[in-house]
Amino acid sequence: MTAILVTLCIILISIIVVQIGKVTELASKMRGEEEAELRSNRTQGGYQILFLIVFLGATIWSSIYYKDSMLWYGPNESASAHGGSIDYIFNITLFFTGIVFVVTQVLLFYFAYSYRARRGHKAKFVSHNNKLELVWTAIPAVVMTFLVVGGLDAWNEVMADVDPNEEYIEIEGTGYQFAWHLRYPGPDGQLGARDYKMISAKNPLGQVWSDEKNHDDFHPSEIVLPVDKKVRVRITSRDVLHNFYLPHFRVKMDAVPGMPTYFVFTPTITTEEYRQKLGALDANGQPKYPEWHEPSDPEDPESPPKYEQFDFELACAELCGSGHYSMRRGVRIVSEAEYENWLSQQQSYYEATIKGTEADPFAEAVSQEEGSEEETGMSEELIIEGEPAVGE
């Protein structure tokens, strides 16, 4: 029944459309083709200007309306040390392209309007103008050079790996369908070796237990980091491509099975400070960002405002299958003291789950221990050796 109704509707609409077409065609015939064309040129020329005004107006209005979501403006400020340079390049580019955008759109629609065909108006024969063409080839070339230099400068600084001698925290994020598995190195500051063949329900990352560096590694359910400390995230995948994406920190890097990648960043603002910033009041005592003062639970007006519930987030930004949209982990940036406190509460995965079980190579007699260590020692070294190879 619905199908018939829908078909009927479509047929009716088609008939109406065709009739509109016919009527205007007849009208133009009555008025005379030339007269009709001139009339249409006049109205269409007017529409060009109308569209230009509405279009530019809408772009300006929308950019003001959404300024809070634009990089650098409003609360969407970077929460990492390198993020500022990205936002800066973004805004420099926005400035230049903004000028070009307005100038070219205005000229396009204005020329269309002002050179519409009308009685007594003839087109000029202008085929080229080498000087003019040289100028407008050179200008974009200069602007591009400027943007390339600025962009690459920032890029090479952001993407540089850590210097082995400097102080940094290394953590590991492993993507799998459909979540992130996190690993911290524990007190020794070093992540233990992994072998994907050893992955099992009890060993989700395939840690090689004969590698003692693994023994203090722990698997938290959220990322907790101290503010103002350099962090190197080792990014790996267990199955398909994922992407380790921290939107607030301007961090994004693919997780590639078989090829660990990395991203180095320094958080500059704690979660608590960021919440305060979102909930800040302006000079008149009004909320600066009213949207963050709405109740966090729309059903319950008594619930705490959104800014108090704010958390940094880890997401996946590379299509990885049907659960791609749900790979969330919380990220908490805390003070140094809170971080130490949190660290001390974490229990190593080995201690909690593996020690003394069948999977533990150290559970057997001391005599067998050496042999098994040598055996797996090989592959362990290979894995560590291959680790820094980002790219080909």
């Binding site: 929308s62 759109q105 085929s127 078989g258 949209y325």
Partner: protein, 618 residues
């Protein structure tokens, strides 16, 4: 009808051709026209380039409607995730799961299948075959003064391989496990492992087979276009006298010929990985509770191969549209295209650069960050020839006498879209900014405006402009204008807001946004986009109705050159038969853009040059 056309005894163009053209004795050999003797050879297995062009166009329109409907379904999901979708159950079947309360929702697997199919169909079937296939076929022989393509038989095969590719892709929509759902880029391991996603089983197999046939079609067409342009130009039609449409189709065909085979090699290797246990793209994978044996491959390698086609592909899509727009703007502004040679050189520059920028799609894929430096530089250099083209189009309008009809409106709209979408490319091509914007809605906004909507605008400009050549009738102008204004407003309403989503960091290819605090605050905007998309689609139906109505009932063409254009296709009779010109082939005397020269409204290319006149004004 009251105004029955009285055929002029001899058309002045025919007199010119008779006097200056040359006789290739074509009609001595083609008595009875063996090519178009019955229904099947005329309409189905036709070897006439004009009929093949129509076949490409109508098949492309079919796929455009399918692809657009798919986008509406996933837009409904994004805009109104809580709404009841049970009403779609009769169409989508088991992909709509209805809960106890009777509320139907779209399965995430099928959401991703829709996104994947939308991309594949639009990029390959509509904007490659439907655009380049249609207009290269229609215009190359007509505008260079050839009887047909160099190999009409191969040309016919080109269409039928495309058709076959379409049949296979269409069939894959009805698989029990669903069509392929790993994104139009089909990155392994997701695409290589059936365990990774339901669509990566039979769906992926059919997807690969379909696209291999599609590449065969592109290559058969491309070889034909290149050969025809190089060898079959009529007397006097030097390369520097070709209309910009032909330049664009010619360069497009070369890009396609050089890049599409690389895609096939990537597909071949992925097929080996899938079926023969090789490890080109797979390494150290634990999936479905099991560690696979594949070691040593790299998924990044696939991305290099894919984007070696993938990036030139966007120019394969946009260059023909650029060529059409250059021609249409010039004809309807009654002015020569500004900077003809600069336009050609910028096409050549874009084509060359398109081959050395592919890794800008891979800044965040784990390639060595040092390598990205080169790709940033080459990518941003493309802004220069693109800017030259835009300035030249605007300068073409300057001082013109512009006739506003559906064709010229869409050409102007193309320039506006190309500016808006091209400028955002400058953000994304700069790797530092790409860290934040990569794989967000900013990218979706960018490429939809610059190569999706813009290419469609080029295509519409071409259809409205050459419809009389194809069918001997006009499309309805009023409906065309309504179509234009509805589409330009609608397309901006759909894609402009996505920039803000992207700047806020919202990733693309998300089935829902509410798992994340940072991404879930744009409900109103997503609803607005969905409503705008539905309305814009409605305006496209207006076009479809206008198109098919006008084929049979449109206003008849009474003058063989309705736009007063200079190019050769308008010197053929209204009812253009096989072989295009009834007698001799025309000889070209001048370049293609003598509009408003020396007080004459236009001077056709077949008009001999006067004593005090230059043949080419570039």
């Amino acid at each position: 009808m009251a105004n029955v056309v009285t055929k002029p005894q001899v058309h002045e163009d025919d007199l010119l051709i008779e006097e200056y053209g040359y006789d290739d004795h074509f009609h001595d050999h083609h008595h009875g026209d063996k090519y178009q003797s019955n229904f099947i050879t005329t309409y189905i297995f036709s070897q006439d380039h004009k009929m093949i062009a129509k076949q490409f166009l109508i098949t492309g329109m079919f796929w455009a409607i399918i692809g657009a409907l798919m986008s509406l379904v996933f837009r409904l999901q994004l805009g109104f995730p809580e709404e009841n979708m049970a009403w779609l159950k009769p169409v989508l079947g088991k992909w709509i799961t209805v809960n106890d309360a009777g509320i139907g929702s779209l399965a995430p697997e099928f959401y991703y299948a829709l996104v994947t199919m939308h991309g594949t169909i639009l990029v390959f079937f509509v904007l490659t075959a439907g655009l380049s296939g249609t207009f290269s076929n229609l215009l190359i022989p007509l505008q260079i003064g050839a009887r047909d393509m160099a190999s009409p038989f191969m040309n016919m095969l080109s269409y039928w391989f495309f058709f076959l590719a379409g049949v296979i892709m269409f069939f894959s929509l009805f698989l029990n496990t669903g069509p392929f759902s790993g994104g139009w880029t089909a990155y392994p391991p997701l695409s290589a492992l059936p365990q990774a996603s339901t669509g990566s089983g039979a769906g992926m197999t059919l997807w690969v087979v379909s696209l291999v046939f599609f590449v065969v079609s592109v290559l058969l067409g491309g070889i034909n276009y290149i050969t025809t342009v190089l060898n079959m130009r009529t007397k006097g039609m030097s390369m520097w006298r070709m209309p910009l449409t032909i330049w664009a189709f010619f360069i497009t065909a070369i890009i396609g010929l050089l890049s599409f085979p690389v895609l096939v090699s990537a597909f071949l290797l992925v097929t080996f990985d899938r079926s023969l246990g090789t490890s080109f793209f797979l390494s150290e994978i634990f999936i479905g509770g099991q560690a696979l044996d594949h070691v040593g491959g790299s998924p990044v390698l696939y991305q290099h191969l894919f984007w070696f086609l993938g990036h030139p592909e966007v120019y394969i899509i946009i260059l023909p549209a650029m060529g059409i727009v250059s021609e249409v703007l010039s004809v309807h502004a009654r002015k020569p295209i500004f900077g003809y040679k600069a336009m050609v050189y910028s096409i050549l520059a874009i084509a060359f650069l398109s081959f050395i920028v592919w890794a800008h799609h891979m800044f965040m894929s784990g390639v060595n960050p040092f390598i990205s430096n080169f790709f940033v530089i080459f990518t941003l250099i493309i802004a220069v020839p693109s800017a030259v083209k835009v300035f030249n189009w605007i300068a073409t309008l300057y001082g013109g006498s512009i006739r506003f009809n559906a064709a010229s409106l869409f050409a102007i709209g193309f320039v506006s879209m190309f500016i808006s979408g091209g400028l955002t490319g400058i953000f994304l091509g700069n790797s530092a900014i790409d860290i934040q914007l990569h794989d967000t809605y900013f990218v979706v906004a960018h490429f939809h405006i610059v190569m999706g909507v813009a290419a469609f605008f080029g295509m519409f400009a071409g259809i409205y402009n050459w419809f009389p050549k194809m069918f001997g009738r006009f499309m309805n102008e009023t409906l065309g204008k309504i179509h234009f204004w509805g589409t330009i407003v609608g397309a901006y309403a759909v894609f402009w807001p996505m920039h803000y989503l992207g700047m806020a960091g919202v990733p693309r290819r998300y089935y829902r946004f509410d798992s994340f605090e940072a991404f879930g605050t744009f409900e109103a905007m997503n609803q607005f986009i969905t409503v705008a998309a539905i309305l814009t689609f409605g305006f496209q139906l207006l076009f479809v109705i206008n198109f098919f109505y006008s084929i049979w009932k449109g206003k008849k063409m009474t003058n063989r050159n309705p736009w007063n254009a200079t190019t050769l296709e308008w010197t053929t009779p209204i009812d253009t038969g096989h072989g295009n010109w009834p007698g001799k082939l025309p000889t070209v005397q001048r370049w293609a853009y003598d509009y408003s020269k020396d007080g004459k409204e236009y001077i056709p290319q077949i008009q001999p040059v006067g004593d005090d006149e230059k043949p080419d004004s570039h």
